[in-house]
């Protein structure tokens, strides 16, 4: 690379004002950045041909070389300030690229390993009496559905009421305290929530208890703050004019909330709840502690152990039995199904908020 290509930014003769000489800034041409990185890649490839180096190392080296090249080039032509600017641009771009590598590889890996067992048997068989090949996660999927449903039944009313209180009724110190505590509750480690539910049930039913409902309680502890936060945000968006109009017609406050505020915010509330479900459906640790694992299908959350998808995946991977490869395949497929469910819920939440958004009519 040479420093020959230069450009004059604003040509002197034709300044709009026509007063005095315009300060000329020397800039690198637009293709300079692309060119220096292309050069770096070529150098890296050549080096790779000469010596047997790891591909990741080569890529890193290419990016570093390109950055250095562009920086020194820019420093020579454009001066230190623009050079720093280009340097940070390079750094930000490469940091972003670096962060995307694991995230993309994660998805690719799960799909690659999980796809082979994504068949009918996986969704229709339990693990009862299955040794080695075959078998499925029917019992785990059902267990996840039952427990998540229960969680939603517990968490949504409590969360909604808290949010309504915070937005419509709460004032002063109490409101601020509750908001703060809800915020802090968002950060409770999931396993601590599991221990809490276990401790709660062990106190009444004796130690060693494993129940589906305990898992639901643990998940509800995790879900309530999420529901409160999102519902609060949505309720705040309901225009005050609507409330005032209802009051002016003599409607009591509770009827205003039930008939005016909640229907207006319905789409947002549904979105929030869907996202909250997506958040807790993949939680493993609390279920590991409270619900345990089973090989047979169990629909009754008040009676003994149940299987859930995340715990199922965990045990299939850590205790695969002999021969291990079939169980490990099942674990990956379970992980894939879990991701698909979470993604599906997220997309659903998006669609709900898009199609059922209230028409403000302004």
């Amino acid at each position: 690379m040479t420093t020959s290509p230069m450009r004059v930014d604003s040509p002197t003769g034709s300044t709009p004002s026509g007063r005095g000489p315009v300060r000329q800034t020397r800039r690198l041409p637009r293709w300079a950045a692309a060119a220096s990185f292309a050069a770096a890649i070529v150098v890296a490839l050549l080096l790779g041909q000469l010596r047997d180096t790891h591909i990741a190392l080569l890529a890193l080296g290419a990016v570093a070389l390109g950055t250095v090249l562009l920086y020194s080039l820019s420093r020579a032509v454009e001066g230190p300030r623009r050079a720093t600017d280009r340097l940070t641009t390079c750094l930000v771009y490469s940091a972003f690229g670096l962060a995307m590598v694991p995230l993309v590889s994660l998805i690719v890996e799960v799909v690659r390993r999980g796809a082979p067992r994504l068949d009918g048997e996986f969704f229709s068989w339990s693990l009862l009496g299955v040794v080695g090949e075959g078998g499925g996660a029917y019992h785990a999927i059902m267990g996840t559905l039952v427990i998540t449903g229960l969680t939603t039944l517990i968490a949504v009313p409590i969360g909604l009421m808290t949010a309504i209180y915070l937005v419509e009724y709460g004032t002063g110190r109490l409101k601020r305290t509750i908001t703060f505590l809800v915020d802090v509750m968002t950060g409770i480690p999931s396993i601590v929530a599991g221990l809490f539910a276990y401790a709660l049930f062990a106190l009444f039913l004796g130690p060693g208890v494993r129940l589906g409902i305990a898992g639901a309680v643990a998940l509800a502890v995790l879900m309530i703050p999420v529901v409160v936060r999102s519902a609060e945000e949505v309720l705040k968006l309901v225009p005050n004019e609507l409330r005032e109009a209802a009051y002016a017609l003599g409607v009591p406050k509770w009827r205003t909330i039930v008939k005016v505020v909640i229907p207006t915010a319905m789409a947002g509330l549904a979105t929030g709840v869907t996202l909250a479900i997506a958040r807790v459906i993949g939680e493993t640790a609390p279920l590991l502690v409270t619900v345990g694992i089973a090989n047979a299908t169990n629909f009754d959350p008040f009676d003994g152990r149940m299987a859930t998808l995340p715990v199922y995946a965990y045990y299939q991977l850590t205790q695969p039995g002999v021969p291990p490869e079939f169980a490990i395949d099942r674990a990956w497929t379970a992980a894939l199904v879990l991701i698909l469910i979470v993604m599906g819920l997220n997309v659903m939440a998006r669609l709900i908020s898009r199609f059922f958004a209230p028409t403000t009519g302004r």
């Binding site: 340097l87 641009t89 950060g187 809490f196 401790a199 459906i281 590991l288």
Partner: protein, 281 residues
Amino acid sequence: MVILAGVAAFLVVEAIPALRAPAEDVPGGEGLTAYIGPLLFGTLLAAVIALVVATPLAVAIALFITQYAPRRIASALGYLVDLLAAIPSIVYGFWGIYWLAPRLVPLFRWLEENLGFVPLFAGPTSATGRTMFTAGLVLAIMILPIISALTREVFRQVPTLHREAALALGATRWEMIRLAVLPYGRSGIVGGAMLGLGRALGETLAIALVLSVSGGITFNLISSGNPSTIAANIALQFPESSGIAVNTLIASGLVLFVITFAVNMLARYVVNRRSEFSGAN
């Protein structure tokens, strides 16, 4: 609020037997402090590694999405990052064992050979790659979306006037970011990092899967002997425990709860202080 108090109360009640128990009954036979100490150390070490790796990257992502990327791509990227925050932690654990750990082994070898004099990289290298370093990296990737989501929100709230003023004075884009965006978003970065720290402290299964555990306190990041973390230890031991061991685990859970509670409270305090400040504008 009642629930929060309830969580604390029940944990304390169930932990009391462990606190009262004679030292030799506690697993390990050296008392509660000796049992929880290494776990606490492991928890903090993993979380600190995660934080050191994740924070700069998260800030870079947030900057990229809010300041550098073309507007149309930016919102899609933001959505993508949000989706990644929703991936269940166990999947990260799977990926950590099967994809990341084997690929890190050559790096560990290189570190041991060239930087072996630093206690962090003393070796001997683990053959499976399931080390503290790997666990910290997995944690970092998990908290990356969380930190960057919060930082992104703060950066987006930077008043356009501030940014335009900086640009109008002839600042380059980096100078604009340094003068207008970063000072405005500093407390947001700190708060986001601390929320990420709280998340990393409590993360369970990714660590339980990735880390190969063998007790003891060591700063060695790349060998196969690692201290476990509180949460991972609970997940690994709990299904097979009974009696006083369960109470001990619950006591360690209580310790974890107190730590994360403190961290989160601090984080919220930092974030809220900023929002009050900016509300006055």
